[in-house]
Every structure is written in C-alpha cells, then in structure tokens.
C-alpha cells in the first residue's frame, strides 16, 4: 500500500518510515558517503574522512530535529531533548562530541520567557558534557503553520574507532544503561493527564560521560570491547534491537526478567496494555560487548549516576538471524516485533 501524501506514520519510526527513507530519500540522493559510514548505512550518524589527517580518525556528523508536544514536561523541556539526542547519536557512534549547532523554528506568539528557558536548558545540557554550541539559525513562522517550537541540532564528533549499529556478533552480551520506557511513559502521563501517582520523569540525558570509559575498554588483542551501540529512542528497545539484529544478520535473545523497568512504567504499561519495549527512551543506550567483558563494562557504567541501573539483558545468537526473541521466566518465548503505528489486537 503506497500512500500519496505524507501521514504521521511516515515519521513514526516504524516500517512506514523505513520505506519512505529507502524508496524516496536514499534513491534520490546520489552522493551519500564521506567516510567509512554513509547515509545508506542508516546509522545514528555518518563519518567524514579528512585528507592529511590521522588516517585512523574520522569525524562523525549527525543531525536531529525535535518536535514534541508539549514543549515543557516534568522537570525539563525540549531543549534538553534536542541537545541530548544529538550528543547521544555521536556517543553511540563512539565519537567524542566536539561541537553542536542549534536551529530553531518558532511560531509567532510563542512566549519569550519560554523561549529563553529552552535556550538555557540547551546550554546546561551541553555544558554537562562540555560541548560548545557554535552556530545556529532562527526562523519564525505564522501561528497557523506551527503550534509549537521545532529544534534542530547537528553535532560533530571525532573517533578513531567508530562503533556501528551493525557490529553485533554471536556470543556478544547486550547491556542497557538503565531503566527502559521512562521518557515515553512520563511524557504520555503528563500529556494525556494520567494519574499514575508517581514522580516518573523523562530520562532525557546526554550520555557521553557515561559511555566514554566503556569506549576505552580494549580486549587483550587491543580491539574495542563494544561491538555495537544504539540509543533506543523512537520505537523503543524493540525497534533498536530489531535494527541491530537485522543489520548484523544475527539473532537476539532477551531475558524478560533482566530488563530493568521502573515499577511505575511497568504499572502504566500493564494498565494501558502497552509494551514497554516499544516505548521511547531519551537517555539510554543499548550496548553490545564481547562476552567476558560484560561485568567490567557494567561496573564502569554503574559508577555514573545515569548508569546506576545498567543491566545485562541478553545475548546475541547465531540462530534466528534477524530476529529478536524475548524469553520469560517460565521459558516461554515470543518474538519482539518492530512496532507498527498502532498496535492491532491479535487474540482471536
């Protein structure tokens, strides 16, 4: 079924968006690569190889636009989301963030005080990991064209060993840096007026300082311990892991009991019939590490406040290529699917 017009689903991160990217964007851009990782790899960013530069090092470039209603949510706002998102995209590519850009599209009538608070939050977030915001752009549009603010941030980073989201190998262990689903559930509760009587907040956070020590870990042979990494944003862990499994041509076996959830997230999902694996995260990473190094990686992660709930959640398998399987405590297994736009009942 091919649509004639763009629908919300085209930006929802699921199979429909994948098709739009594959069939329209990738087909029409002819020059898509400046280094070892290009646009067609559909990773979190791409690399740029510079002439007369240390040949082992590459620059990493990434960009992300943020629209979110409402722009302010418990404890923070869209500014933190925009800066964290771009820093995290660099981080999961294994790149140290060097600088950010900030482009703003704002409708007439938007309160100046709110605008300033967003900008201040962006500054605070970037300062947390010591990344300067060095250029930007501001556009205003008519009220009728937009009902809230849009932020775009691009980020430049550098790495001498880029981490790809396709690098999982059978036997690798999978880690997450903390509890899953916090951002999506807290935002929905706030936006839709659910009273889950909890102090659930978005997990939006810049992860560079958390991940940096793990990136430095090397095997005795000198190769990075991290084999693949991704930030499970839209479509949640389900989407991120399916992409990683498909790109690696390997299977993923998750242990349901090991995946960390805040009780409030579990409760909300159980009451609304949602799958927490499909809920968005904004301050989490899923990391594949070589077997035998998971404990070391976990203890490094747990030393940082953003990583105190880091956990081993499963492993990469040679069988079930491209599939993500969740095993419950009774040994029952189900497939973790790529989230569709809206879940459709299946119980007959």
């Amino acid at each position: 079924m091919k649509a004639n017009t763009i629908s919300l689903e085209h930006g929802a991160g699921g199979e429909v968006m994948q098709a739009l990217i594959g069939e329209i964007i990738l087909k029409n851009f002819r020059n898509k690569s400046a280094g070892s990782i290009g646009l067609e790899n559909l990773d979190d960013g791409s690399t740029i190889r510079l002439e007369n530069f240390n040949p082992a090092s590459e620059l990493v470039l990434t960009t992300d636009s943020h629209v979110i209603t409402p722009a302010f949510f418990p404890d923070t706002n869209i500014g933190r989301l925009a800066v964290s998102g771009t820093i995290n995209d660099l981080t999961v590519m294994g790149a140290k963030p060097l600088a950010l850009t900030c482009a703003v599209i704002v409708p007439e009538g938007f309160p100046i005080l709110d605008f300033e608070e967003i900008i201040k939050t962006m500054d605070e977030t970037a300062t947390e990991v010591g990344v300067p915001i060095i250029t930007g752009d501001t556009k205003t549009v008519e009220k009728t064209a937009l009902d809230s603010i849009i932020l775009n941030t691009a980020g430049l980073g550098i790495t001498d060993s880029p981490i790809r989201d396709s690098g999982l190998k059978p036997g690798d262990k999978l880690l997450v840096t903390g509890t899953i689903g916090d951002h999506g559930i807290s935002l929905m509760a706030h936006r839709e007026g659910f009273d889950f009587d909890t102090d659930l907040a978005s997990d939006s956070a810049p992860l560079w300082k958390l991940i940096e020590p793990v990136l430095k870990l090397r095997t005795p042979e000198g190769t990075p311990v991290i084999t693949a990494m991704k930030d499970p944003t839209r479509g949640g862990l389900a989407n991120a892991l399916n992409e990683m499994a498909a790109k690696a041509g390997a299977g993923i076996l998750l242990e349901e009991d090991l995946i960390p959830f805040k009780p409030a997230v579990t409760a909300a999902c159980e009451m609304l019939g949602l799958d927490p694996l499909e809920v968005a995260n904004e301050g989490k990473a899923v990391i594949g590490v070589k077997a035998g190094f998971e404990e070391e990686a976990l203890s490094l992660l747990r030393q940082h406040p953003y990583g105190k709930d880091a956990a081993l959640i499963g492993e990469v398998t040679a069988e079930n290529k491209g599939e993500v399987i969740l095993r419950n405590r009774f040994g029952g297994m189900r497939y973790v699917d790529i989230p569709a736009g809206d879940p459709i009942p299946r119980v007959c």
Binding site: F196, D197, M271, R346, C348
Partner: protein, 774 residues
C-alpha cells in the same frame, strides 16, 4: 465360458489398512487370479477369471472392505487375458506418491484388545499389539512410500515369527506396518523423574496404575505425544497438577474405561456416544451429570467436561487394572508450547511436573494432539481436528492448482490442496510463541513432503503482524494472497459443505477478532460471499477495546469500553468488575477511553460475551482461551427462569448496513441486574438476545439480497445455545442453514479457507463478489 480380465485402479485410503490382503482373499474366494499392487497414490488390481466371478468380486469389494479402508473411486478397464496362474500381492515400488493417502491413527481394535488380555496369546499384556485394522499410522510416518522402512517401526526389525504373520496374505497382520511382538517390538518402561528405570513392560503398567491410585502425577507416552495423567476422582492430585502446570482453571480432559464408567459422571447423548466410541477416539465434550463424582477442579465452573475412551494398548491395560478409575489425560505441554514427544524432552521439560514417566522407545515422527469434538445443535462439531482424522484429506467441490494456506495465529493448522483434495494438518497451536511457530514450519514442510504438493499460490491472513503471514509472504512472495480472516471462515464453511463453485451465501462469522479490511478488528460479521469475493453487509457495533489484547485478558475493560458512553463515572465505578490494579486501573481505563490511547475498535461477538461474563460476575480474568464465554454458557445452562427479555436493538450503519447495537444489549443486562433475575438468567438472556438479533439481521439481509443459504462460522459457533437459536430462527424463516461438518468452525478452519482463496484466485472485497450471484 471364456476367461476375461479387468484392470482396476482404486483410489482412496487403500494403503496400510489391510486393503491388499483383503483383495487377495477376496480374489481367492471368487476363484480369480491376477495381482494387487500398491502404486503409491492408488492400488492397481488385475483380476482374471469367469465373468460372473469378476462381477461378484466387484460387488463385494466396496461392501466387504476392511474398516479403515475408504474407497474414493474405482476405474475399471477391460484388458486382454494374460493367464495368471494364481493371485499374488506385488510389493510396493517407487512411483508417484502424490495424493497418496496415509491412514490416520486408530484405536486398538477389538480383536487386538482381546489378544492382549488372552494369556494364551503371544501378545498377552503387550501394549504395542496391532493389526491392519488398528494402531498408530500417521504419527509413525517419516516419509513416503508408506512402507515399514519409512516409518518409526524401521527401528524394530521383525522377528521370525512376526515375519511369517507379516507376509501371510491371509493374516490379519499382513503388511500392517506398525506390527510387532514382545520379541521384536518396542518396549515400555516406567522411570522416576530423573529417568531411573523402575519397572519394564507389563510390570511398568502395574506400577503406574498403583502410582496413579496413590495420587502421583505421571506422564504417559502415546501415539502422537505425551499425556500427563493423574487420578481425576481425587481433588489433591488434580489441584497439585494445576499448580505445577500454572493452569488455574483450564478444563482437563479425562479418560475412562468405557461408556458405563463415563455415565457415572457425564450424560452423553446418542450422538455423543457415537463420537466417544468411534475408532477415532476423540475427546468428546459431554454435559456433566447431576451426580458428577469427579474432582470439581477437573473442569471448574463449567457444565461440561472433555472425555475420551482408551485407544492405545497401554491405556487399555491401565484401565483393566483399575476399571473404575478415571484419569486426567491432558496433553503434556507448557503454556503455549507444543506437546512433548521425545523421552529426553519429557524428562527435562516436565521436571517438576511429572513424578514418574511411562515411556516407550518408539519414536514419534509426527506430533498429533487429541481431537476434540462437541455436539452442537445436535451435530458433532470439531473443536480441534487432529489425531484420528489427520492426514485424511477433505474433498473439495471443485479442482484447484497446488496451493497452501498457512492459518491465522491461534489454533492454527496448515492446509495443502491440489485437484479435489485438501490436506489439513494436525493442530499446531498458538504461533505467536516461538517454539509453536517453529513447529508450524516443521508441519508445513512435512506435509509438503507427504503430499508432494509444492504450492504455486499461497493464502495467509490479512493481519500484518501474524508470524504465519510473514511465513507465507517470505515463501510465496507475489504469489501470496492475504485473505480477510472472516472471509476465510466463510470460504471454509462453503467448501466444507461442498457448495459448488457458482454458489453464494450469506455468511455469519462470529469469533474473537480478525483483522478487518478497514484496519479495525472484526469479529461479528455478515458477509455476502461467493468463492470469488465478498461484501461486508452488516456487523456488530464496533466497540472500544481499551488496551487492545489486554481487554481480552481482563474482560471488565470491555464493559467499561461498551458502557462508558451511557453510564456516568459514579455508576461505572459501582459495577462489580475486577481490575488487577484496582481503582487506579479503573481510572486509567476511563482516561484511556477518553483520550483514545491504545484503544482499538472491534465488532467482535466474542468480546461481547466476555463483557457480559464480566458484568455478571461470572468471569473476571481470562486464564485460558474462550474462558469467559464458556463460563457464560455454563451459567446460562443453570438459568431457572430462562427469561424472555428483549434487549436487541438494530441500528443503521454506513451505507445502510445493519448494525447490532451491543451497547444496548449490555445496558439491558445492567438494568435488569438489580431486579428479579439471577446472573444465570441474564447470561441466558444475553446469549438468546445476541443470537436472535443476529438471526434477525441475517433474515432481513438474506431476504433483501436474495440469499437462500445462510451459514455460521467462527469460535462463537461452539456455543450450543447461540448456534441452536440462530439455526432454529433461520430454518423457521425458510432458509437453508449451514454449519461446519468436516473442519473446525474456529480458527482451525482458516488455513483451509485461505487455501481455497489461493486456489480460486479469489479477489478480496467487492469486485468479484457478484460472480455466480446471477
């Protein structure tokens, strides 16, 4: 008189059922010479002799054929006389095995049963005694042709004495592939949970019988898998088994020695007794008797119980030791996973469940769950079509190219069809579970191998997220037809009733949910259908399902969804509904409905019954498939008043399509619930009104659109009260009413319907619908 010769080609179930020795004997008795030869897909017979003898042979053949043989067609050609001196059986040769029919598994026959209880017989107390008329078949077949070396009996070379019986054309065991004796055949033993052998052969059965009497839980290996058995007369073992399996409520099937024992706890009717005692030995769902004297926890809060009679030698020997005992005999599987079939697998997977294992060393080539039958509206209906019936093909009223149907998600089966035959696989189960989905692929592969049908076209469900849908698309690619779930139900119903290719009917499909053409969940549908397309002419009112599938598990959510537009929050809060997270969840659901967060719309009939069960306090949590609706039916059976309430309201939907307003139905129940009626009375009223409302809409649609036939499919059709009421109303109004006969009305029929769609190149909604309607 001159000698003449005839060459016969006989198709049907004529292999491995003693057909060739029968022909041999028949030919001899008519003083004919010639040969009989197995050609894989049929049997070739040459008979030579006097014309009168040839003719009496031809008359006797269909009449005197062995019990398991089924003759589909006999082609007779007159050929020139070649002068055979005697009648011989020619051994199978490699040939074409397409359309070859492997017989289904069959209960031990009376003659074999007598022998295992006869101290002078060499089969005395030997549980694996079989002959051409009985025993396991399909479950032993690894590959074709159906010869001993291609079955799991290849592991047991015949001893000298058996060789004599096996090769003697006059012996009952002539070429009975699973045939063996205590000398050369499989062994039985009893082990403890760790696999330590405690006793062998008959001693093992004696010991097992004692253990069962003492309350132990045993796994017992049979034809197509393992049962878990315990004493059904005592509460303790049954409740212990429930705890160990994590199955708090799901009814267990039981086995009893004979119909006399069955009648001590159930009330089988005439049709029930026929099913129960047939050689297929299905689980037959029977009404409990007033003096039901088994443990209540065998089939809690239900008015009926699944019962079967022994069908293996082991079972016969067990019951002979304790003739009055009744055992739970439930298939040995962990929730959602396929039944255990291997010895080591049993030791490992049933750890903590079975105290002991009664094992044997014959491998099970094909897993095959027990068939389940229930008599609905006076006719037997398949709830599950499996052991005893599979792989016997279902004949189609027309020819199709090689096609496959892969089923839906739950209760799935696969179907391969070619020409006029459709092979529906054994029960597979819920393919959302990884292991069951793998089993689905295995069954599919094996069925391709056994039937030789390499599908050219594929049918699958319209639901994009079903594993079976992906399975079909990844194999069939552009040759895959996604068939709307309820249309597949109706196609299956039409072919099940052998309606010719140009037929059209008004199909009523009532079930849980299926993916609809409009992306919502359907499940209470009136489809004007031909084999080439359909139109959705009417349906039940789409109702919100707050939380999607969660509303199936917690039916109180459906009640809130259906009534939230009619009752205020204060009234809703007073409803006797259960939510696992209490008041907080109640508010969450209310908010969820208002903000439409994860709320899908469904016209499902099953969900309406679920909601009624919750509202009446009959069932608040679904712990097994169909539980709320089954318990509602049982409650309705207990109704004393059987009130004649009128709770049905019709509405007009889009484009004048009639819509049954199920909100009004549920509201009616709510309003009467504080009056003079018991929950049982109102359960009755809900079923009665839903059925009547459906029948009324069907009558008006059929009248207006000129349908003479109206048919019913879908899981709700297992409800005897609803089906009888719809059938009665429609027949009274002069319509021909169709239900399923040879395939299940639940989702076990979906693969069959999909295969038909793929075979006829059926269009989806609309365009080709009018073909055949003129």
């Amino acid at each position: 008189m001159q000698n003449e010769a005839r060459l016969l080609h006989v198709t049907g179930t004529v292999q491995g059922v003693g057909f060739r020795p029968f022909i041999y004997q028949l030919a001899k008795s008519h003083r004919l010479s010639g040969y009989v030869k197995n050609l894989g897909n049929h049997v070739e017979i040459l008979i030579e002799g006097k014309r009168v003898n040839l003719e009496s042979f031809l008359n006797d053949m269909p009449e005197k054929k062995p019990p398991l043989a089924r003759i589909k067609e006999v082609k007779i050609n007159t050929v020139s006389f070649s002068g055979f001196l005697e009648f011989i059986i020619i051994q199978s040769e490699q040939g074409t095995f397409e359309n070859s029919i492997i017989p289904p598994d069959t209960a031990i026959c009376e003659e074999c049963r007598m022998e295992i209880f006869d101290p002078s017989s060499r089969y005395y107390h030997y549980p694996f005694a079989v002959c051409t008329n009985c025993g396991p078949r399909y479950t032993t077949v690894r590959t074709l042709p159906y010869d001993r070396e291609n079955t799991t009996m290849a592991d047991f070379p015949l001893c000298g004495e058996c060789e004599v019986e096996y090769t003697d054309p006059l012996n009952r065991r002539h070429h009975a592939q699973p045939f063996c004796c205590p000398e050369c055949g499989p062994e039985l033993w009893l082990s403890d949970a760790q696999g330590k052998v405690l006793a062998k052969n008959y001693e093992a059965i004696v010991k097992a019988s004692h253990l069962l009497a003492q309350g132990s839980i045993l796994s017992v290996k049979g034809f197509g898998g393992f049962h878990i058995a315990c004493n059904a007369r005592k509460e303790d073992p049954v409740q212990e088994l429930r705890k160990r399996l994590g199955r708090p409520e799901q009814p267990f099937a039981v086995m009893a020695k004979d119909t006399v024992v069955v009648e001590s706890f159930a009330e089988p009717g005439h049709e029930d007794l026929k099913c129960l005692s047939s050689a297929h030995r299905p689980i037959t769902v029977l009404p409990k008797s007033k003096t039901f004297e088994l443990a209540e926890s065998v089939s809690p809060n239900l008015h009926n119980i699944g019962v079967m009679l022994p069908y293996t030698g082991t079972q016969e020997l067990l019951f002979d030791l304790m003739p009055d005992s009744v055992y739970v005999m439930t298939s040995a599987n962990l929730p959602g996973r396929p039944m255990v079939v291997e010895n080591e697998e049993a030791l490992e997977k049933l750890k903590g469940i079975s105290d002991f294992h009664l094992l044997h060393n014959r491998v099970i080539a094909n897993r095959n769950d027990d068939t389940v039958i229930r008599v609905v509206n006076g006719k037997s209906a398949f709830i599950r079509r499996s052991r005893g019936f599979v792989p016997e093909p279902v004949e189609l009223p027309f020819e199709v190219e090689a096609v496959a149907g892969v089923g839906a998600e739950m209760n799935s089966t696969v179907t391969l069809a070619k020409g006029k035959l459709a092979y529906i696989s054994q029960y597979i189960g819920n393919t959302s579970h990884v292991e069951t989905f793998r089993y689905h692929a295995e069954v599919f592969q094996h069925l391709v191998q056994l039937t030789g049908i390499e599908p050219l076209n594929w049918g699958c469900d319209l639901h994009p997220a079903f594993n079976t849908t992906r399975f079909a698309i990844s194999r069939g690619r552009e040759k895959t037809l996604q068939v709307q779930h309820h249309y597949a139900h109706i196609l299956a119903l039409m072919a099940d009733n052998s309606l010719p290719e140009d037929s059209k009917i008004l199909g009523i499909a009532l079930d849980g949910v299926g993916y609809g053409k409009d992306g919502t969940a359907w499940g209470g549908e009136f489809l004007g259908a031909s084999y080439f397309g359909y139109k959705r002419l009417g349906h039940l009112l789409p109702q919100p399902m707050p939380g999607g599938d969660l509303a199936v598990k917690i039916p109180g959510r459906m009640v809130l969804g259906m009534l939230s537009g009619k009752l205020g929050e204060a009234e809703l809060e007073k409803l006797p509904l259960y939510f696992p997270r209490g008041r907080q969840e109640f508010s969450a659901v209310a908010q969820q409905l208002q903000r439409k967060i994860n709320v899908t719309m469904s016209s499902s009939a099953g969900r309406v019954l679920d909601a009624a069960a919750a509202l009446l306090g009959i069932c608040q949590v679904k712990t097994y498939e169909g539980e709320p609706a089954m318990k509602l039916e049982s409650a309705a059976k207990r109704s004393l008043q059987k009130p004649d309430l009128s709770l049905v309201f019709k509405k007009e939907g889009e484009a004048g399509a009639p819509v049954l307003d199920t909100t009004e139905l549920l509201l009616g129940v709510y309003e009467h619930s504080c009056g003079k009626y018991s929950p049982e009375d109102l359960a009755f009223a809900v079923e009665e009104n839903l059925a009547k409302g459906i029948a009324e809409i069907a009558i008006s649609l059929a009248t207006k659109k000129g349908f003479e036939k109206v048919g019913l499919s879908g899981g709700v059709a297992y409800n005897d009260h609803i089906t009888s009421c719809i059938a009665g109303t429609l027949k009274e109004a002069g319509f021909e009413f169709l239900t399923h006969r040879r395939v299940p009305c639940g989702d076990g029929c979906i693969s069959f319907g999909q295969a038909i769609a793929a075979g006829l190149g059926t269009d989806s909604e609309g365009t080709l619908y009018d073909v055949g309607s003129r």
